[in-house]
């Protein structure tokens, strides 16, 4: 299994980084009444799709999306 394929593609690291930044901005400063979460999710999903097209294992893409799942508020009661 190929691993850490993302490290061979700086543009994807940047895209994931952008998604993370948007997510943290919303989480920390509540910058946009939730819209940045949608934007963050869209960026992360796009990055994952591109990652899979670059030949990464599906689990690798799933692992990065799990990071965003961990960051989202409102999952726990």
């Amino acid at each position: 299994m190929q691993e850490w394929v993302v490290l061979r593609h700086p543009e994807l690291v940047l895209l994931y980084g952008l998604a993370l930044l948007l997510c943290l901005m919303e989480k920390k400063w509540k910058a946009s009444r939730g819209w940045l979460f949608y934007a963050s999710c869209a960026c992360a999903a796009a990055a994952s799709a591109m990652l899979i097209l670059q030949g990464a294992d599906l689990r690798e893409a799933a692992a990065y999306l799990t990071v965003f799942l961990l960051l989202m508020p409102g999952v726990r009661a």
Partner: protein, 487 residues
């Protein structure tokens, strides 16, 4: 039809749409047909067994109602129902196992006799529906519920597809009235059902099957695995087993909730238990409730002194182990559990006095953490017993553990773990802890837009993660059926 198969992803929406589109009178027929189709998807012939069990218990229930003033006949009908159900179960599940035991015993005594093996296919979910129909007959006999006169509703109670093959084992008083009720469409039910489904699929496809890959690697080459790899596989199997079955129960509950039916909660955070006794009150709740109500209490329960209590505990746990499958390892698992439950019963009072004398606060977070850790650690050997395919495999596990090789490199090699898989597994387990309550509670809308958006995005992310992991499992042929289907 497995819940984690593509066929179920088509079947469930179709049935739910049909259920809500049809008039109330037609729903029961549609649901019954759908449930039978769901069961026949594995092997069409097995429906005959389900029909036999349904027919016998339906007639016994009606008979008990008819002979209301005749206790002798009522008891006879109860015996017929229980014997037929246990007979079906014994014939299909335990014949070969007991045959081998008898043959071995005969050979030991020097008598050349072998009980013929039948090598029958184990009907899916047989232990679940036979126990559910037995609970109906016993409850009717005890006058705890009225016998169902409508055969269609009774057949639906036995074969309701969300809980047909792996529970929860429902009591007639809980499920039958819900099946007969004219449900109205409520968006809350849809939301709660979808949340439960998401949570269940996440546990199964993302957590359980991922853990299963590493566990299988160790058990495939048990002789090469060192002590740390075996212990690690044991710990991972604890998580796999929980997520597999709790995931199934949540998918079942979610599927039923889409049609307005609320199934019994089968798991209540078992790994947060602080004792083994508490653990079994939180794990597979419907089965443990069945054994408590229909076996433990009739045997005398805990009211006739400590010795009778210990005896009853051993009997119940040994049979509970055997219920899981016709293997000695399951019996050993049951006896192992019984030992710790008995030990806790014996030490309960002295331990209470000691903690009181030493002034140890039981609600101290450190004490709670220690007790939870102790509970998890003593559950690991139980999980290994549960996973072992034979007594010889148990021997190999003990051999590996006694060799006391705790080399981390060797262990990671046996588990087939790399730096990536460690990070991925850690993230998965953290996510599992994070979504613990996601399927259970209807989170109140507190008007916080950010939180609401977070919730919606979480749902989308869960769908994406589930889909990716499911496809990965299909691609590598690691996708496994639900463990409890085989029981």
């Amino acid at each position: 039809m497995n819940f984690n198969s593509a066929a179920f992803l088509v079947f469930l929406p179709l049935v739910v749409c049909l259920y809500w589109l049809l008039p109330f009178r037609a729903r029961k027929y549609a649901l019954l047909m759908a449930s039978w189709f769901f069961y026949m998807y594995w092997n069409p012939l097995l429906i005959l067994l389900l029909l036999a069990s349904t027919g016998i218990d339906y007639l016994c229930g009606l008979g008990m109602d008819r002979f209301d003033g005749n206790p002798g006949k009522r008891k006879l009908l109860l015996c017929v129902s229980v014997c037929m159900n246990l007979g079906i179960l014994f014939f299909f599940k335990y014949w070969d196992f007991f045959g081998e035991c008898v043959s071995g015993l005969m050979a030991f005594c020097g008598i050349p006799y072998r009980v013929p093996s039948l090598n029958l296919i184990l009907p899916v979910g047989i232990s679940f529906y036979t126990f559910q129909t037995m609970s109906y007959s016993i409850d009717v006999y005890r006058r705890k519920c009225t016998p169902e006169k409508d055969f269609v509703y009774f057949a639906l109670f036995v074969s309701y597809f969300p809980q047909l093959v792996a529970g929860p084992i429902e009591r007639p008083g809980d499920l039958l009235p819900q099946l007969k009720k004219e449900h109205r469409w409520r968006s809350e039910d849809l939301k709660a059902g979808v949340r439960l489904l998401l949570c269940g699929f996440f546990r199964k496809c993302v957590v359980a099957d991922t853990c299963g890959i590493y566990v299988n690697r160790v058990f495939d080459r048990l002789l090469q695995a060192n002590a740390l790899a075996v212990a690690g596989a044991g710990a991972l199997f604890c998580i796999q087993m929980y997520c597999d079955f709790a995931g199934y129960s949540e998918i079942a509950a979610g599927s039923a909730r889409l049609m307005g039916v609320r199934l019994t909660r089968n798991f209540d955070r078992p790994y947060l238990s602080q004792s083994y006794g508490e653990f079994f009150r939180r794990w597979h709740i419907s089965l443990n409730r069945w054994f408590t109500q229909y076996l433990y209490i009739p045997l005398g329960g805990s009211r006739r002194g400590l010795l009778i209590r210990l005896r009853n505990t051993v009997i119940v746990f040994a049979l509970c182990g055997l219920w899981h499958g016709a293997r000695w390892t399951y019996v050993l698992w049951g006896l192992y559990a019984a030992f710790f439950v008995c030990l806790e019963s014996v030490l309960e009072k002295p331990a209470g006095k000691i903690t009181e004398r030493l002034n140890i606060p039981l609600n101290n977070p450190l004490v709670i953490f220690t007790r939870r850790l102790y509970m998890f650690l003593i559950f690991i050997p139980a999980a290994l017993l549960f996973r072992a395919g034979s007594v010889q495999e148990v021997g190999q596990i003990i051999q590996s553990l006694l060799a006391a090789d705790f080399s981390l490199t060797n262990a990671l090699g046996s588990l087939g773990m790399t730096s990536f898989s460690i990070v991925s597994l850690t993230l998965t387990l953290c996510a599992m802890a994070r979504i613990y309550d996601f399927g259970l509670y209807d989170l109140p809308d507190n008007g916080n837009r950010t939180e609401e958006a977070g919730r919606q995005v979480s749902g989308v992310l869960m769908v994406l993660v589930i889909a990716l992991c499911w496809l990965a499992l299909l691609a590598t042929e690691d996708a496994a059926g639900f463990a409890y289907f085989q029981f």
